[in-house]
């Protein structure tokens, strides 16, 4: 259902078609084979018609019995088996063409996404990218398995049939020849107009479904306002309106198929009647006449199937639009740094007058200036949207400052090899990801070779060992899809265990205790405390209670550091921090 495609401009569609075709080069062999096998099938069809016509001719005209028909009947049997084999092979070979393109393309796409890096990924919706890699690529498959092999056959088979029809009966040949191009012509002519109407209806259907499910999702809310019963009628009314307007459209849209049917069917009828009269007047023999009648429906079959192929092509073009766009996205221009940090480095990190913009000229950070070294803990606080997470992303190397620089032991972060830099970091984002697999493997993410003991040690340091060991499968428990089965606090503790196991020099934590009940928050705070020892730690918080212990607090507001200092010093400053803190205390008292 062509829901996704707002009509693609002609020129773009053409360019995309060229791109799709260029990908076919890699699978030329199976494609050619599929076309060749299909052509054999077409020729077998003609042979079959000839054999059948022969049998009927010998029985009807020559009044011969079964014995004289046997040679032809055996021939028919052979052709039947051959056609079955051909159909089997044609499908299998066409599948391989599509499979080859799909597998390579998926590999290219995943590599491209990872080359584009975290800055790019952060701006994408997960669902969009998964759809692209799974469904869109699958939709392209039809282009290679159906459209490309079938299109030449749609020309070849009717042409081959005409080659036989013309010498036997040129008038039938003319009837077919004239009506043949009319079919695709009308298909395109009428199809263009109705396609747009169709799309509008599908959008309406999508809207109607969205409404229906919105209502179901909000059923509890409706019920709280005693408004749930009236909604049943509204759903009925909307559906009825949709039916009426859709039928108005379909009445016109189905005309296209009426025209197609008309040409194919009426041509067959005309051929039959015309041949009948030629036979009546003794102008031709029965055998060729009957054979033309047998071939007439086969002549129109591939032409009528062109609609389906055309649709497969349009779908593939629609799907390829975003694939091509992704593959052509420019890689960031910055050449990756090459310098290596020595492992004994002091790890003296300095933000020097750093500014950053996600979009040109819209700085979300400006004049950020602070230092962080081994053994220190620095906290970032401030309202949401003040730029805390952006600072963490810059430090991780996910984004690069637009102004100023970040230096590590005097070297610009831009000049340090990215692999070399992240090797020093452990990071826990606000919503850590557990990958499909066992809890043990999730803890082992950064050290695939770590032994069981090391994993257990890391888990117990993260206050996670107790709950993991209570699970029936312990460390072998499979967690999937967003850490299914584990609570938010448990997921974070597994992620902390990951950080302990990595034993990095720099630890970055994004809101480790947000949205947790006090007991769980305390368990995590305790683990964080342990993790901070002998490391440099940057911790983001929007609640003030959790961070009074750190060495330095940076208060951010609208992309700037407005205050900084220890908890006590900040309170003494009587600024934003003191004010917010007072607000809490007032609320607490």
């Amino acid at each position: 259902m062509a829901l996704h495609s707002a009509p693609i401009p002609r020129a773009t569609a053409k360019a995309l078609d060229t791109w799709l075709r260029s990908r076919a080069k890699a699978v030329r062999l199976p494609l050619t084979a599929a076309i060749g096998i299909g052509a054999c099938g077409g020729l077998l069809l003609i042979v079959q018609a000839w054999l059948l016509a022969h049998v009927v001719d010998s029985v009807v005209i020559d009044h011969l019995g079964l014995s004289s028909a046997w040679p032809f009947l055996w021939g028919m049997l052979a052709v039947f088996v051959a056609r079955a084999v051909v159909s089997l092979f044609a499908d299998a070979v066409a599948f391989e063409a599509a499979a080859g393109v799909k597998q390579t393309l998926r590999g290219e796409l995943t590599r491209k996404i990872s080359a584009l890096g975290p800055g790019f990924v952060a701006g994408q919706r997960t669902g969009d990218l998964t759809n692209l890699l799974l469904e869109s690529v699958d939709e392209l498959g039809k282009y290679y398995a159906e459209y490309l092999p079938q299109m030449p056959l749609a020309a070849f088979i009717p042409a081959a049939i005409l080659v036989f029809v013309f010498p036997t009966d040129w008038v039938s040949g003319i009837i077919m020849l004239i009506s043949a191009p009319l079919i695709p012509f009308f298909m395109i002519l009428i199809g263009k107009g109705t396609e747009r109407l169709n799309q509008r209806q599908w959008r309406k259907l999508a809207w109607m479904s969205a409404h229906f499910f919105d209502v179901i999702e909000g059923l509890t809310t409706l019920k709280l306002f005693n408004a749930s019963r009236a909604e049943g009628e509204i759903i009925g009314r909307i559906s009825d309106d949709y039916r009426r307007s859709t039928m108005d459209v379909l009445r016109v849209a189905f005309l296209s198929s009426l025209v197609l049917e008309f040409f194919a069917t009426v041509s067959i009828a005309m051929v039959a009647v015309y041949i009948g009269f030629r036979l009546y007047y003794g102008d031709m023999h029965f055998l060729p006449g009957f054979m033309v009648l047998l071939l007439a429906p086969e002549f129109f079959k591939p032409l009528r199937a062109m609609g389906t192929q055309y649709h497969a092509r349009m779908e593939a073009i629609g799907a390829s639009e975003r694939i091509v766009a992704l593959l052509e996205t420019k890689l960031p221009e910055r050449p990756a740094g090459q310098n290596e940090l020595s492992s004994s480095a002091r790890l003296d990190i300095r933000f020097q007058d750093v500014g950053f913009a996600y979009r040109a000229d819209e700085l979300v950070l400006r004049g950020i200036d602070f230092g962080l070294a081994r053994g220190e803990r620095v906290a970032l606080v401030g309202p949401s949207g003040s730029g805390k997470s952006t600072i963490a992303r810059l430090l991780l190397g996910f984004d690069v400052p637009d102004e100023g620089a970040i230096t590590v032991d005097g070297t610009d972060l831009r000049d340090i090899g990215p692999e070399n830099w992240v090797a020093r970091i452990a990071w826990m984002p606000q919503a850590p990801t557990l990958f499909h697999g066992s809890i043990g493997d999730n803890i082992r993410l950064g050290q695939p070779g770590a032994d069981e003991q090391a994993v257990r040690r890391a888990a117990s340091a993260a206050n996670a060992a107790a709950f993991i060991e209570r699970l029936p499968q312990g460390y072998d428990t499979i967690v999937g899809d967003r850490g299914q089965g584990l609570s938010g606090g448990e997921i974070r503790r597994v992620a902390l265990a990951r950080a302990f196991l990595k034993n990095a020099d720099l630890v970055i934590l994004d809101e480790p205790t947000a949205s947790l009940d006090p007991e769980t928050a305390a368990l995590i705070a305790d683990a964080v405390e342990r993790l901070a020892r002998d490391r440099a730690m940057l911790i983001i918080a929007h609640r003030l209670e959790s961070i009074t212990e750190v060495d330095r607090i940076l208060v951010l507001n609208e992309g700037r550091i407005v205050e900084s200092g220890s908890h006590a010093a900040l309170l003494a400053q009587n600024g934003l921090y003191a004010e917010t803190s007072a607000l809490y205390h007032e609320m607490l008292s």
């Binding site: 499908d91 990924v121 479904s209 229906f212 809310t221 949709y242 009546y280 003794g282």
Partner: protein, 555 residues
């Protein structure tokens, strides 16, 4: 089978359309077969007449050929119109039917199906039921009708030929596709499962991209994705092979039937059937297989549809969690809330979710409720809002027992602001009017002012008519919370229930929301669930819930 009959029963309102659609489809199939067969008979007769072997009145058959061509073409057009009309009528009925059965179950019984997938499951299931008429019913019924008529027609010429054709149709239309379906079920299910895993793997990798990078696990993950893709393609290949074998086999069966019928019919020529009949029979048998060509897809759809129907019926057949009183007592006129020795559990074998809870909230005062996840806070709400029944004890509003009141009356007395507030995907105005459909513009604005969000709403592109994106995406968490409070102001109910009203908000938003709550609770009997100490300041007393048991702490 029971599910299938029950599914058919849903069509009861539009059976005329249903029958008309099936009849027209069969007519088109028969016209197509008739056209080819008659053409064969016609040219054979004309050839014999041309040779002087037969006298033929050719006007009628020639006209009939043209007539059949027109019936086939026009019939196909009408058939498509009528079947689509029937589909849309059914779709409307189905949704209303489903909704009306679902409504009494919300939210209590639906919680069983939670875990995020209820909605996506219902969505997919309803979608596949939408197609039951077009994809299952029409092809099956029209195939049965036309096959029977065609076989009867052939039997008039030769019972043996009819039998051979019938056997072929049965093989090609029923036996082979069913075998293919059974063989394909394994790889089909595997393909669905694998594409699910593949999807989850990709989603994981994208969501956790930064972590993969920092923990230097990207390369193995990419290799794993390549392997998942290859495995997916391998099962697709398996399914395609089965499909290919099936379609080759169907083709072969159709042709073998022709072959057998021809062999049976040749000796009959001159003994019961004549030459033109023979030509007609050949083409008739060949064309008859069009009648069953849509069946395999229908079986395939039937499997999915029945599974979907079973799940939908399963949801629908659940008993509502609360039975309403047969007659209702007068609604309370005072609004203190008393809970005495309340015990509640979700199933007879389950632990008590609320175990002997007692408390009272005097009219106009506020009780804070704290407790860990699973302590019973949600269960308490379910009881108070009559979403779930309780087993022991009593709950009274203004002295009137909760069980003597209709659920709707109870909920009419309560305004609720929940942590997960659903804002509907329409304008802010519509969302507010939910609370009081007849509210005037002034009343809407007053409620927004009370909730301290009036200025922000007016600053939005279309003011009150701004459309809230799905799940409130247009609004920040704090804004959505305050719109929900405006709704509560507008409802102006004597009892107020607040469920974690400030969770997940930053300090500034939390402060604004708390101020609003302060105004909202004034004069209302309030139950405030929270674990934020800042919010508890508003409570006159605090109830601590722990594993279903409670103790009250006065402030």
């Amino acid at each position: 089978m029971k599910d299938f009959l029950r599914l058919l029963w849903l069509f009861k309102g539009s059976w005329r359309w249903v029958l008309a659609g099936v009849g027209l489809t069969a007519l088109v199939i028969l016209a197509n077969v008739g056209l080819l067969a008659l053409s064969g008979w016609f040219i054979a007769s004309m050839a014999l007449a041309g040779l002087g072997l037969l006298h033929l009145e050719y006007f009628m058959p020639a006209a009939s050929i043209r007539g059949l061509a027109i019936i086939r073409t026009g019939g196909r057009y009408l058939e498509r119109l009528i079947t689509h009309e029937a589909t849309f009528r059914f779709l409307a009925q189905l949704r209303v039917w489903f909704y009306e059965h679902l409504e009494p179950l919300a939210p209590a019984r639906l919680q069983y199906y939670r875990g995020g997938d209820l909605l996506s499951r219902i969505r997919a299931d309803i979608d596949s039921l939408d197609n039951v008429y077009l994809r299952v019913l029409v092809p099956t019924a029209s195939a049965v009708i036309s096959v029977l008529l065609m076989v009867l027609f052939l039997a008039w010429f030769s019972p043996h030929v009819a039998l051979a054709d019938f056997a072929g149709l049965l093989l090609a239309g029923v036996v082979v596709p069913l075998i293919a379906l059974r063989l394909g079920r394994g790889p089909g299910a595997q393909a669905v499962a694998l594409s699910g895993t593949f999807r989850a793997d990709i989603a994981d990798a994208i969501r956790g991209f930064g972590e993969l990078l920092v923990y230097q696990a990207l390369a193995p993950k990419l290799a794993a994705l390549d392997r998942s893709s290859a495995a997916l393609i391998a099962t697709q290949r398996h399914a395609a092979r089965i499909n290919g074998v099936w379609s080759a086999a169907t083709l072969l069966i159709a042709q073998l039937s022709l072959w057998v019928c021809v062999i049976i019919a040749i000796p009959l020529v001159g003994r019961g059937i004549d030459g033109p009949d023979f030509a007609m029979i050949g083409l008739f048998v060949l064309a008859s297989f069009d009648a069953v060509s849509a069946l395999p897809a229908a079986y395939n759809a039937l499997g999915q549809t029945l599974a979907a129907a079973r799940r939908i019926f399963e949801v629908i057949d659940t008993r509502p969690a609360v039975s309403e009183p047969s007659s209702e007592v007068l609604a309370p006129s005072q609004f203190d809330l008393r809970v005495d020795n309340l015990k509640m559990r979700y199933g007879e074998t389950q632990a008590w979710a609320l175990d002997d809870i007692s408390f009272a909230i005097p009219e106009g005062s506020c009780l804070g409720v704290v407790g860990q996840t699973g302590a019973g806070k949600t269960s308490l709400l379910n009881v108070l809002l009559r979403f779930w029944d309780f087993q022991e004890g009593n709950v009274r509003i203004g002295g009137v027992s909760l069980r003597d009141l209709h659920g709707e009356t109870v909920r009419g007395l309560c305004a609720v602001v929940a942590q997960q507030t659903h804002l509907f995907n329409t304008s802010i105005r519509e969302n507010l009017l939910l609370a009081r459909p007849d509210a005037t513009e002034e009343e809407l604005c007053a409620a927004l002012r009370d909730a301290d969000i009036f200025d922000e709403v007016m600053a939005m592109p279309a003011g009150l008519d701004t459309v809230v994106g799905e799940v409130g995406t247009f609004l920040s968490g704090g804004q959505a919370r305050r719109i929900a409070m405006a709704r509560a102001f507008l409802k102006n109910a004597p009892l107020l229930i607040l469920d974690e009203p400030t969770e997940g908000l930053d300090a500034v938003s939390e402060r604004a929301v708390l101020d609003t709550i302060g105004r909202l609770t004034r004069g209302r009997t309030t139950l405030l669930i929270t674990h934020r100490p800042q919010a508890l300041r508003l409570a006159d007393a605090v109830l601590v819930l722990e594993k279903g048991k409670a103790r009250v702490r006065d402030k």
